[in-house]
């Protein structure tokens, strides 16, 4: 049975189930009224059936709704969202920086937004120039000779880089099977290597939170295809043995893939090409704003060394005799295509807008301010929380849960209490090399005032936990549309798809 009035949430204590501006909202399918529609369509005229028995037999399964219902539904859902446009988003490892509005203005220009990727190149010279100019900036900022623009996001960029490494080794008749990945790596690194058939060999971290150089060297051998290392790493620390690591892996005939997710900490100051990197993806949607792709696609171009450049994916932009041109086929060295067309144009235009509006000096200031903010955060919280590793950090501050020892409060409880305070929680339980990790990345776009308010809240919660108020934390969050969710049940018995009542009954 369908109904336009699903059961209300009685726990709110109001008649409607709403709590002020926190409006209850059913699933869009639960609001279905058969026959209701946002548009009037004329009756279908008499016609000859030409579907040869392929005519749809069952219902389409879309809910019947008025336009106003749909608009209100999605507006209400958007109000339940926490966004970078509302406040600090300290999600470590994600670089949740403010997205300047000039990016949006540029990306919406009709000459950019209304293009079709299959238009003849003579009609999209401006778009190709945009890609070429962005490519030039990425190569200059990284000190690398080539860049593959088509990868659609960070992990896709990793895939691109690793496929390029494999293609280069296969071209030399030197197929290799092992990839060294530090234990502190982003989970996508070992996943990428494994997904294309490499054996992942984890490298331990040393007591400084960095790659254990001796252990790394001991694992090298003629079967090692390369290594995947994030720098700065996920502990928020610069891998200061990075040149020794690069030399060692090159000495063993392998390649060095650098995960560039944390490029924001070093942009304009360190060129990965100078560190011996062979391939590195750049998350345009982190370092160059529009965090998390603004909810849309990300973009993960991969810069490549001279040795790997010939194996880059197709297509790519070149300067031709009659302006810009696209190389769609090459002599067979390229490992092929990663996706349809040229890459994520919407992100290219935003990233280039960000880069040009900041300029080289502005980008250098970005990384400086990002590192300064993270260190201000770390220093301010040092006495109330427990800093995971000694010394200063790069773009993110990492804490362990030593400060909660004996309080009965876990990192998870702490995160839930932060939601009640109106903050998105920091990244928790990652990286795995730190017990009960709390990873905070303020980025350069937070002001000192904004950081001070955030710090006050985190300090207050830490003191509350130490004062013995564990019960408060166990009950958090109190002020959200729904209280603490059963994450274990959700993981063990996920309901991945809404099904109408009739289908559910039929299945039972």
């Amino acid at each position: 049975m369908t109904t336009s009035n699903p059961p209300i949430n009685t726990s709110a204590g109001t008649i409607s189930g709403n709590r002020g501006l926190q409006l209850e909202e059913p699933l869009i399918f639960e609001m279905d009224v058969p026959g209701r529609s946002g548009v009037d369509l004329p009756d279908v005229p008499k016609h000859k059936e030409r579907l040869a028995g392929m005519k749809r037999k069952g219902a389409v399964g879309l809910p019947g709704l008025a336009e106003s219902q749909v608009v209100r539904h999605y507006t209400k859902l958007s109000q339940k969202n926490y966004a970078i446009d509302m406040s600090v988003y300290p999600l470590g490892s994600c670089t949740m920086k403010h997205n300047p509005r000039i990016n949006e203005k540029i990306a919406r220009l009709p000459g950019i937004a209304d293009l079709h990727p299959m238009q003849p190149v003579s009609t999209v010279q401006g778009a190709l120039e945009l890609i070429d100019t962005l490519a030039h900036w990425l190569k200059t900022l990284t000190g690398m000779p080539a860049v593959a623009m088509s990868p659609a996001a960070g992990a896709h960029g990793e895939l691109c880089g690793m496929l390029t490494i494999r293609a280069a080794q296969l071209a030399k008749g030197d197929a290799r099977k092992r990839i060294l990945v530090p234990e502190s790596a982003h989970g996508t690194n070992p996943a990428t290597a494994a997904s294309i058939g490499y054996e992942v060999d984890p490298v331990p971290a040393d007591e400084r939170g960095r790659v254990d150089l001796a252990a790394f060297k001991a694992k090298l051998g003629p079967d090692v295809a390369g290594t995947m290392i994030t720098n700065p790493n996920t502990c928020g620390l610069f891998e200061n043995d990075i040149i020794d690591i690069a030399d060692a892996v090159h000495g063993a005939g392998g390649y060095f893939y650098c995960d560039g997710a944390n490029f924001n900490a070093i942009v304009g100051r360190v060129r990965p090409g100078d560190l011996g990197v062979d391939a590195m993806h750049i998350n345009l949607h982190k370092t160059f704003s529009t965090p998390h792709g603004g909810g849309g696609p990300g973009s993960g171009p991969v810069v490549l060394s001279e040795a790997l450049a010939p194996y880059a994916p197709l297509p790519y932009v070149v300067h031709g005799a009659n302006g810009f041109d696209l190389v769609e086929h090459d002599g067979g060295k390229s490992f092929g295509r990663l996706k349809g067309f040229h890459g994520q144009m919407g992100m290219f235009s935003r990233a280039l807008s960000y880069i040009l509006s900041h300029g080289a000096d502005g980008l250098r200031q970005v990384s400086g301010d990002a590192v300064l903010n993270a260190n201000y955060l770390q220093a301010s919280l040092r006495s109330d929380l427990s800093v995971a590793f000694p010394g200063t950090c790069m773009h993110e501050a990492l804490f362990n849960d030593d400060f909660l020892e004996g309080t009965g409060v876990t990192t998870l409880d702490f995160a839930k209490a932060m939601i009640d305070e109106g903050y998105h929680p920091m990244t928790m339980y990652f990286p795995l090399v730190v017990h009960g990790a709390l990873l905070m990345e303020p980025t350069e776009t937070e002001s000192k005032d904004g950081l001070d308010r955030y710090i006050e809240v985190v300090q207050g919660l830490a003191r509350r936990a130490k004062a013995g108020d564990a019960a408060y934390f166990h009950g958090a969050p109190y002020h959200t549309p729904r209280r603490r969710l059963d994450e274990t049940l959700a993981a063990r018995q996920p309901i991945l798809r809404w099904k109408p009542e009739e289908t559910k009954k039929a299945a039972e």
Binding site: F430, T488, A491, R492
Partner: protein, 125 residues
């Protein structure tokens, strides 16, 4: 050799003849939190000491379970597929992961007995 033995990576082994039953320790399940998925090896798979035997996933993290001895997988605890929480409830008993036909019994010598493992865990966080 009899009794239960533990590795530094928090796996346990119980030996019966040339068959080793392997699981993760109560300390390990406590650190992981609620286990939501266990990826077990194929029967017949040859495994090497220190290499990946299985993967255990909790609400906090996905972790490798390393083989504490080399050998061949002869049986796996398929019941964990429907009830991964058994690892939390009975880590040393019904929450076992796999049975391995031991290739080299000498490898067991490097493992810790219960008392030594307890001391080892106390030295951790």
């Amino acid at each position: 050799m009899s009794g239960i033995r533990f590795s530094k990576d928090h796996e346990w082994v119980k030996v019966d003849g040339d068959i080793a039953t392997v699981g993760i320790s109560p300390y390990a399940q406590d650190q992981l939190g609620d286990v939501v998925f266990v990826d077990l090896p194929a029967i017949g798979k040859k495994i090497e000491k220190g290499k990946e035997l299985a993967v255990v996933e909790s609400v906090k993290a996905a972790s490798e379970v390393y083989a504490p001895v080399s050998g061949e997988v002869v049986e796996v605890n398929a019941a964990l597929g429907d009830a991964p929480g058994t690892v939390n409830e009975d880590a040393l008993g019904k929450g076992w992961f796999a049975k391995v036909k031991i290739a080299n019994k000498a490898e067991l010598d490097g493992l810790m007995d219960e008392a030594a493992y307890k001391t080892f865990c106390e030295g951790l966080h």
